[in-house]
């Protein structure tokens, strides 16, 4: 082994085992995995998720327009960036989960915890969008988060609906 072999080997041994990425990658990962099914679901459940998403989006938009109109202020470009909006969404999500009485309290707690992670990720992305409003990656991530939140809520409602049907039989 010559001096250069030795130098190379020593340099390899000195390489750090861990390197922190320049950005926190968790919000992007959370956006991609939240509510993502790990098993095959029937097609109608996707339709239900889509309809719920529309309902949430329409409701939020209506609330936003109403509030801004009442204030006499124009609606912001995103229309959804402030704390009151997130508080409304969080309250809606929490009430949906609490109504799923067929689920154990522990399961409801896990779902609520996941919803809070999604909401926190949404707020972080909204803050980033405030300084970089046209960033397509951030907008796509935010869109994914809305969809994932809706899927998670739809799945929760779906289990409750199935229990109600069984109880009716």
């Amino acid at each position: 082994m010559n001096a250069n072999d030795d130098k190379l080997q020593k340099a390899v041994e000195r390489l750090p085992r861990e390197i922190a990425p320049a950005h926190d990658l968790w919000p992007g990962i959370a956006a991609r995995i939240a509510g993502r099914p790990r098993t095959v679901r029937p097609l109608w459940s996707y339709a239900m998720a889509a309809s719920l998403l529309l309902a949430v989006a329409a409701g939020s938009l209506w609330l936003g327009i109403g509030r801004h109109a009442a204030d006499g202020n124009p609606v912001s470009a995103s229309g959804v960036g402030d704390n009151a909006y997130f508080a409304q969404r969080a309250a809606f999500a929490e009430s949906t989960v609490q109504k799923a009485t067929n689920l154990s309290p522990a399961t409801r707690a896990v779902i609520l915890k996941n919803l809070r992670i999604i909401e926190s990720s949404m707020q972080q992305i909204q803050q980033a969008l405030a300084t970089d409003p046209n960033n397509p990656r951030l907008r796509a991530l935010l869109y994914d988060l809305y969809q994932n939140e809706a899927r998670l809520l739809a799945a929760t409602q779906q289990t409750q609906a199935q229990t109600n049907v069984r109880n009716d039989l």
């Binding site: 250069n4 320049a22 992007g28 991609r32 995995i33 915890k113 996941n114």
Partner: protein
């Protein structure tokens, strides 16, 4: 009567607290607990990103592959049996995520012979200050893709040529040739 405390227990290896915590977090994440999965992410992102960065040679691609690795791990968690540590498992997923992105380059590399210096010597000069000495990370990033991947997998990650052949689809001989050239190129940079 013999009590349980007086019984001689076999000399079993004691699991470390970190391994115990991994098991508990993995079980919770398998049940859908994203907060537990986030803790696993925080614990292992440094190692996963390091291997992605060295294999990909590009920070933004390394970030994408790191994200892909954790998303795939989340999806595959129900099938994870805990035969290895979560960190080892997600590390392997990350290596595959980077290699998949480079599949085309690896297919081309399978046809590159050791004497094909036109390709292998095409190493752009790093922008490090020569007076500051060697920055091996930067030198690795400037290696041609196949040579870089084989070097990282063999010399940094400790895989055998047979394992590298299985992971990359390269022949064992080709893997050895790429390693030889990678070391030559890095040594040449060391001399400067």
């Amino acid at each position: 009567m013999e009590t349980a405390t007086a019984m001689q227990l076999p000399n079993l290896p004691t699991p470390s607290p970190a391994a115990d915590e991994d098991l508990s977090l993995t079980a919770r994440a398998r049940d859908g607990d994203m907060a537990a999965f986030e803790q696993l992410y925080r614990r292992y992102v440094g190692r996963v990103y390091a291997v992605c960065l060295r294999l990909a040679g590009n920070p933004s691609l390394a970030e994408e592959c790191t994200q892909d690795a954790f998303v795939r791990a989340w999806e595959a968690l129900p099938k994870f049996r805990g035969e290895s540590r979560f960190g080892t498992w997600v590390h392997r997923i990350a290596v595959n995520a980077v290699l998949e992105r480079h599949r085309t380059q690896l297919r081309q590399a399978a046809w590159v012979t050791v004497k094909d210096d036109a390709v292998l010597e095409a190493v752009p000069a790093g922008d490090e200050d020569p007076g500051k000495g060697l920055d091996l990370e930067q030198c690795i990033a400037t290696l041609p893709p196949a040579a870089r991947m084989v070097f990282v997998l063999f010399d940094v990650e400790g895989h055998s040529h047979e394992e590298i052949a299985e992971l990359t689809g390269l022949a064992v001989g080709t893997s050895k040739a790429h390693l030889h050239r990678a070391r030559q190129l890095l040594r040449a940079r060391l001399e400067t």
